[in-house]
Symmetry: C2
Subunit: 188 residues, 2 copies
């Protein structure tokens, strides 16, 4: 038994979903897209790579399901060790923020291009944020289960908060970069 090097995020995501019931790689890919997809969206190939790994580690078992009229499946089921592994992972601190924002990099060096270029990037990102809000509304409607602590709902609230911050910022950038070519430092 692996004494326990800790879980990578995708491993944790897959294992976490597996905790709600056994499923195949194909199923998991869809489950990911419909749940954690907007803040953790691995390629399907990654899911298929991760699953045998989890079996190796003793965190899941694999079972062959024969089907007629469609391809057979490999169905995975979480083990007790697997559940322990998630709890373990959940209790470890997640490293600092995930920095890494290529858009900001482009804005930072914006003086090496013309303002229009930067504006396009920012507007595109704002459109994405608006799209995200719509998707979150969709998810809210689809979920709508709960009373007690609804954790997925909390992540949707985050998504919305993030999207709104993004939109506010985009508007700010637009104001700064368009009409007001006047020397002005309106530090908020």
């Amino acid at each position: 038994m692996g004494p326990g090097r800790q879980l990578a995020p995708t491993e944790a995501a897959v294992l976490g979903l597996l905790a709600y019931g056994e499923s195949s790689g194909y199923d998991l890919k869809r489950a990911v897209d419909r749940s954690v997809g907007y803040f953790w969206g691995p390629a399907k190939s990654r899911i298929y790579t991760v699953l045998p790994r989890l079996v190796e580690l003793g965190y899941a078992t694999r079972r062959d399901v024969v089907q007629r009229n469609r391809p057979n499946k490999q169905v995975y089921r979480i083990t007790r060790a697997g559940r322990a592994a998630i709890r373990e992972w959940l209790s470890e601190p997640s490293g600092p923020t995930p920095d890494r924002n290529p858009l900001l990099l482009k804005v930072f060096f914006g003086d090496q291009a013309d303002p229009e270029t930067v504006l396009e990037h920012v507007r595109a990102r704002r459109a994405q944020a608006e799209q995200l809000k719509r998707e979150l509304d969709e998810l809210d409607r689809a979920a709508c289960e709960g009373d007690d602590a609804d954790y997925p709902a909390l992540t949707r609230v985050y998504g919305r908060e993030w999207a709104e911050a993004m939109i506010r910022w985009a508007n700010h950038v637009e104001r700064e970069l368009t009409h007001s070519r006047t020397p002005k430092s309106s530090r908020k």
Copy 2:
């Protein structure tokens, strides 16, 4: 001359900083930390790896600087092709959002641990956000140059907006998860 496969973010960051004047890997590491560090912070080894690459691509030149009383340097200077490469990179759309938020993953699966665990993560993140705000204030004070379009300042505004969204969200989570163990769905 490389016809141009496009720049990776770290390459762009290094090249972008090089545009303000020649410098060594060591200098660049510090420049990164003091400028784009809070949204793009590569390890120093990455910087040292990237620099010779940029020379290979014809985007920078390297020059040996002999020093007394301290180690010699390799000093890099951006070329005309290098400047063109940044403009090129700036004009390309940056892919969607960088999803990838391990903290949210932990929150999402929060029901597989106890609420206290989740709260600790969220509080830790809020503390980081508050720290970031302080650092941004610091940077604002240090910068304070400009009239005309001040791009770095725009990225700091983003940082602040992000931090504040994070703090609001953390407070929300705290309210939801602490005293109110009551079945309630206060969809904002």
